[in-house]
């Protein structure tokens, strides 16, 4: 039973990790916590749907188009809103990111209707018993794709000059600028990358949840995962996502499924209050 719960929760955990990674990228790089990120996840899944229903594409071409479109969206968000607001107050930037999410959600509600849409699984959703544990190929595909993407990202940050430029700009904007990194380009790249990640997470998670305009609420789970991991470390985000998946699955199975979401939110508040630096982050001292 426990093994089964752990295997099932890894699916949710992998998706939370992807979303948390997007949050952390944007926050670490540009200093904005993007409150509309969950809605971008939802919008990404709808982009595939729009490609299939409106343009009549099949699944894979629609997915490629959706990823390209979301890259464009990321560039638009940065150029249209975050760049002009770079010197605005924190309050204004928080509200702007909330507003961006609301615009995406209401756009989808107005044009695609408020009802849920069916969304195809990547592999068959029927369970196969392996050594006493039921494995679902579709869920394994989600875990596989998530970890594949996470691996690619780590390779990029560790081995390529572009990844190193992003890390440099995240750590110290002025220093990175002095050694020749175009910081504004790096920010643009971060927004594009994070938007593509959001769409990917949306495509993976849409068949598990029902695809409706309110699916963006999954963003809060991503926040929780990111905060568990400390909100500034990429490894932390991945660990936070997986631990959140397990943490909410255990009481969900053993006590009551209604408790599942409440537990996520309570973890969010508790971690913020008790360990704002996350489970593994170092304490940052704010200077006056």
């Amino acid at each position: 039973m426990l093994a089964q719960v752990l295997v099932s929760s890894a699916t949710a955990g992998a998706v939370y990790a992807l979303i948390a990674l997007g949050f952390v990228l944007i926050h670490k790089g540009t200093g904005v916590v993007h409150f509309g990120y969950g809605d971008q996840v939802m919008f990404g899944a709808y982009l595939v749907l729009i490609g299939r229903v409106m343009l009549g594409l099949s699944f894979w071409p629609a997915t490629v188009c959706a990823l390209l479109a979301s890259a464009l969206l990321g560039a638009l968000i940065y150029g249209g809103f975050m760049w002009p607001l770079r010197n605005a107050s924190l309050l204004a930037r928080i509200i702007a990111s909330l507003a961006l999410g609301t615009v995406l959600r209401e756009f989808v509600r107005a044009y695609m209707g408020p009802n849920a849409w069916p969304f195809p699984f990547l592999l068959s959703p029927t369970a196969v018993p392996v050594a006493g544990v039921l494995l679902v190929p579709a869920n394994l595909a989600i875990i596989g794709v998530s970890f594949g993407v996470l691996g690619l990202l780590f390779l990029m940050f560790e081995k390529t000059i572009y990844g190193k430029a992003i890390i440099a700009a995240c750590d110290n904007q002025i220093g990175a600028g002095i050694v020749g990194v175009r910081v504004s380009y790096v920010f643009l790249a971060i927004w594009i990358l994070a938007s593509v990640l959001a769409t990917l997470a949306g495509i993976l998670v849409a068949p598990l949840l029902t695809l409706s305009p309110d699916m963006g609420l999954i963003g809060i789970k991503g926040f929780t995962a990111a905060i568990l991991g400390g909100f500034s470390s990429l490894t932390g985000a991945v660990l936070g996502g997986i631990s959140l998946g397990i943490l909410e699955a255990l009481p969900g199975t053993y006590i009551s499924s209604a408790l599942k979401d409440m537990i996520s939110y309570s973890i969010l508040i508790l971690v913020i209050l008790i360990r704002p630096q996350g489970l593994m982050g170092a304490l940052m001292i704010r200077k006056v």
Binding site: H27, V33, F35, F81, P84, L85, A88, S89, L90, L91, A92, I94, I95, A96, L98, A99, L100, T102, V103, R105, E106, F107, R109, A110, D214, L217, I220, F223, I227, A258, D261, M262, Y265, S266, L268, I269, I272, L273, P276, V288
Partner: protein, 316 residues
């Protein structure tokens, strides 16, 4: 002095004349604007003036609506007593929530208040025996001095005076030491603390007043809608109240009224575009926060200044 009495006189005359001049539907709209303005006024105090972002307003509104309805149906407490009682309770909850601001601010505060709203909404949905669960519950009508007030035309006589009274109260408090302390905290917490202000107490008090105002507004809204649907007290609704505050103008109580009037009246003009309403509101919020972050209320004085300046130039 005479001018002030004249304004009061005109105000009272307008209040008494309105029921004879407008149809019941319009009086209902006035009540809706007034109740929403109270909710948004809470947000003006805590976010606009004290600078603490709060996404808990929908939870306060929900508690203010559910509390009296449950007290009245299960315990037989009359609504006129249950509403202020519950509002005081929600104010106390707001004070406790405000204690969080000792440790957190900015993004983290937004996240924590967001999670608070989500938890409150989930507890409405999952406490079926008391709250009716996901289906919601009806609100009993308000009985006052043996008269049952059920429609907008009758509730008008309760809601409008309550709103005006609370607005005057809040305005006066904000012009006192309390309001100046909040402004000081918004501009620099460190400086305010160095001047000897107990910053945490003021921030918690701002949260408490936003809870109290949100709960009163929520109770009045529930009397108008006569039904409580837990779907209406989520994070989305908190953002909706924030949108009203931003569009109206977050730094003055007047902004709460202007924003509420706009958001309640726009659907009337866009009746054939009902499904686009949410998009229109979201775009308004985005447009205002990027281009006019101080809202409509701040545009009035600037317009007057600009016109008088033009006038002077022309005369010269």
């Amino acid at each position: 002095m005479i001018a002030r009495f004249l304004i009061y006189g005109v105000g009272i005359a307008a209040f008494l004349a309105a029921p004879h001049l407008f149809a019941e539907y319009h009086l209902f709209q006035f009540c809706l604007i007034a109740a929403t303005a109270l909710v948004v006024l809470g947000l003006v105090v805590v976010t606009g003036l004290a600078g603490q972002i709060s996404l808990a307003q929908a939870a306060f509104v929900g508690l203010g609506g559910y509390g009296p309805a449950i007290l009245a149906t299960s315990w037989g407490v009359p609504l006129w007593a249950a509403i202020p009682l519950m509002a005081l309770g929600v104010g106390a909850a707001g004070f406790v929530l405000g204690q969080m601001t000792l440790r957190i601010s900015g993004h983290y505060l937004a996240l924590a208040t967001m999670a608070f709203t989500a938890i409150v909404q989930l507890s409405f949905i999952h406490s079926d025996p008391v709250t009716g669960g996901a289906a919601g519950m009806p609100v009993p009508p308000l009985r006052l001095l043996g008269v049952t007030l059920s429609n907008g035309g009758q509730l008008y006589y309760v809601i409008l005076p309550t709103t005006v009274l609370l607005f005057v109260l809040v305005r006066n408090v904000l012009q006192s030491r309390f309001g100046r302390a909040l402004t000081a905290i918004r501009q620099s917490e460190t400086a305010a603390e160095a001047m000897g202000l107990n910053v945490l107490r003021y921030k918690a008090a701002a949260f408490a007043s936003s809870g109290f105002l949100g709960a009163i507004g929520g109770a009045l809204l529930s009397l108008l809608s006569t039904y409580l649907d837990p779907g209406q007290f989520g994070i989305t609704q908190s953002v909706y109240f924030l949108a009203i505050a931003v569009v109206g103008g977050m730094t003055s109580p007047l902004g709460a009224v202007i924003g509420s009037a706009m958001f309640i009246l726009i659907p009337d003009f866009l009746q054939s575009f009902q499904s686009y309403l949410g998009l229109v509101f979201a775009l308004l919020l985005l447009g205002f926060i990027v281009l006019r972050p101080n809202g409509l209320a701040a545009m009035g004085p600037r317009l007057v200044e600009w016109v008088s300046h033009r006038h002077r130039v022309v005369r010269r």
